[in-house]
């Protein structure tokens, strides 16, 4: 909920320095720029809006879920393996538990672990990536090797290995393990971008002015990285959610607490498939897919916001045809082209 405004502000900041890479916010088609003030440009992207709306819905459920759940998710009843009905919207389990309540209550665990892991991993990623890109030389070499090592080592088996050997696993522990293994992608992208920012004129000017390194990084470089950091954060949250659910699905993880993965774990271990109890595993999966899709859509929005080439191609076929444009190769309907400089 807080995230949407922050991304908009970040996007606006990114657009301000004229040297910023490939922002080209002004390059929006003129028809569009007449609508509303420029700072809501990010929110005019239909993909981003859809994503935000779905994410907002799940955040709301995460907060109020346990209060609006019609039943206690663990309470047994006599309605065993009932298909969806008015009493049980998503049917019941082999013990007569209400699947709908399980999913409502389980949303909180998923969202909390996802965001905690996302915040932690992004922090590590920013520290490592920006340091590597800014310092350069040997420090850069060793930090990027570190990031690449963590990228190449298969994360899920590593998470399973660590979580499987812990005596007790709580939500925060899982988030921590996911963050430790999942920060590398963001760091890699940030390093590349910092590297290209480091030699820009405005950074050189700040350096010539005798600004401290700390200030150059926080005041000159970081604001220009916000879109990428936001994209990395969203991506990491998606990764963390998937990892948490996978962990719960194979039976590692938070015991005695509901999340979508534990619902699926029970469905799988109680042979829901063979009993034809589709209502047991379909809703949880669809929730995961919806949440994942909303995060992907937000990321598309950020991508198209940052890279005008993608944005223009994001115009759909109908609107292009309306403007009498036949899409072809070598053709990018950007009003005046922003130089692509994303090394």
């Amino acid at each position: 909920m807080t995230i949407d405004t922050s991304i908009v502000e970040e996007g606006e900041e990114l657009a301000r320095p004229s040297q910023a890479p490939a922002t080209g916010v002004v390059t929006a088609a003129p028809r569009r720029s007449s609508r509303g003030p420029r700072k809501f440009l990010f929110l005019r992207n239909s993909k981003a809006i859809t994503g935000m709306a779905i994410l907002g819905f799940f955040l709301l459920i995460a907060v109020i879920g346990p209060y609006i759940a019609p039943y206690d998710p663990s309470a047994r009843s006599d309605d065993i393996l009932q298909p969806p009905s008015w009493e049980h919207w998503f049917g019941t389990t082999h013990l007569g538990q209400d699947v709908f309540s399980q999913i409502l209550v389980g949303t909180r665990g998923v969202i909390v672990v996802g965001f905690v892991a996302g915040i932690l991993a992004t922090t590590i990623g920013v520290i490592v990536g920006v340091t590597a890109g800014y310092v350069g030389g040997l420090g850069d070499e060793s930090l990027s090797v570190l990031a690449n090592v963590f990228l190449v080592i298969p994360q899920l088996p590593l998470i399973i290995l660590i979580a499987g050997q812990l005596p007790t696993v709580g939500g925060v522990t899982v988030a921590l393990v996911i963050a430790i293994t999942g920060w590398a992608w963001g760091a890699r992208v940030l390093r590349a971008q910092t590297l290209s920012l480091r030699r820009r004129d405005f950074v050189e000017a700040a350096r010539a002015n005798g600004e401290r390194t700390w200030r150059i990084i926080t005041a000159e470089i970081l604001p220009n990285l916000t879109a990428i950091i936001a994209a990395g954060f969203v991506g990491t949250v998606a990764f963390a959610v998937l990892s948490l659910i996978t962990l719960s699905f194979i039976g590692i993880g938070i015991t005695g607490e509901w999340n979508w993965g534990t619902v699926l774990y029970q469905a799988q271990s109680q042979l829901a498939l063979q009993r034809g109890a589709w209502w047991w595993f379909v809703p949880a999966g669809l929730c995961i897919a919806l949440l994942g899709m909303s995060l992907t859509l937000i990321n598309f929005g950020i991508d198209e916001f940052v890279n005008p080439r993608l944005r223009s191609t994001g115009l759909n076929a109908k609107s292009l045809r309306k403007r009498g444009i036949r899409p072809r190769i070598g053709f990018t309907p950007v009003v005046y082209e922003a130089k692509e400089d994303r090394s």
Binding site: I153, Q155, L310, I329, F331
Partner: protein
């Protein structure tokens, strides 16, 4: 050559890091599950095996950490990974040996298929962007956000339970003897079809999206315009100029996302009870079989590293710049 030397050094470091992580995890984490297991199996394990387990899990408190580390490496280089508790008293290496061909066959073929098909579709969509082809994007977004194992659940419930076309679990007909006969191979393909298709469908979306976006970026480059201006056929420009360049970042991202894909497909094996590494990892986790877990992690990392080396080699062949001297 410098490119390959650098990459080789990198893989050596990664391997070292993986082994060291494996060494440190049981030593850093609280609790001491393995000595309990050893005590439980007292008298059934040979003294040699106990010795190996003590080294693997750092139970020799009187030895310095460095000495433990040296012993650990010595043990690994001899190919010893301890014994599995679940499949007592089979050594971990033997369990992995049985499982590995199945995983490499299933995951390898499915991943290569999905990469190739994804590249082709992505090229097509990227080339005809702004047409009906773009409507495939939301669908692929959906598939890229669904966890692999959930698709597997759906596939089983539709194709095995409801329609009864494919078996829901296992990797070949149990009444057959594993030999190189047509009957057996046919049965393996029959049993492997559903898991392989599920892997392809769930992982293909990422490739389509990546390739599509790269095609869009590349196709507005000058050399594509020049190729068009020369009057080359659409097909020649699409594959020879645009796709040829767009595929490069895809190959390197293939290498990097391999670890993620492998992780997802391992869970797939669990759902299908496919007797590969993932299934054994699952049983190891359920039975708290720590030696098997650690051994499997090492082997998976090795396999991913090897696949990375292959991807690097392909990249070197595709991109002449990497072969440049100096």
């Amino acid at each position: 050559m410098r490119f390959f030397l650098r990459r080789f050094a990198f893989y050596a470091i990664t391997f070292w890091a993986a082994v060291t992580i494996n060494f440190l995890i049981p030593r850093l984490l609280p609790g001491d599950p393995v000595s309990a297991l050893i005590a439980m199996n007292q008298g059934r394990i040979s003294t040699d095996a106990i010795e190996a387990l003590r080294t693997l899990f750092g139970l020799d408190q009187d030895v310095s950490l460095w000495q433990q580390y040296v012993d650990y490496w010595a043990l690994l280089l001899r190919g010893e990974l301890g014994i599995s508790f679940t499949y007592f008293p089979t050594p971990v290496t033997e369990v992995i040996q049985q499982a590995l061909p199945w995983t490499i066959g299933l995951v390898g073929i499915a991943t290569i298929l999905s990469f190739t098909i994804g590249m082709l579709i992505g090229t097509g969509i990227g080339w005809r962007r702004g047409t009906w082809a773009d409507s495939l994007l939301p669908i692929s977004t959906f598939f890229s956000s669904v966890p692999y194992f959930w698709l597997a659940l759906i596939a089983i419930s539709v194709f095995s339970v409801t329609l009864g076309w494919f078996p829901a679990s296992g990797s070949y007909d149990r009444s057959l003897v594993p030999t190189w006969s047509w009957e057996f191979i046919g049965s393996v393909i029959y049993y492997g079809f559903l898991p392989a298709m599920t892997i392809v469908i769930s992982s293909i979306a990422g490739w389509i999206l990546g390739m599509r976006n790269m095609m869009v970026t590349v196709s507005s480059e000058d050399y594509v315009t020049v190729a068009q201006a020369k009057g080359l056929s659409e097909r020649a420009v699409m594959f020879g100029y645009a796709a040829r360049n767009a595929v490069l970042p895809q190959v390197s991202s293939f290498a990097l996302s391999l670890g993620f894909i492998v992780g997802g497909t391992l869970v797939m094996e669990i759902v299908f009870s496919y007797q590969g590494i993932g299934y054994f990892l699952f049983t190891a986790v359920a039975a708290k079989d720590y030696p098997l877990m650690q051994g499997i992690f090492l082997v998976i990392t090795l396999a991913v590293l090897f696949a990375n080396i292959v991807a690097d080699f392909v990249y070197g062949v595709l991109d002449p710049r990497t072969r440049q001297e100096g």
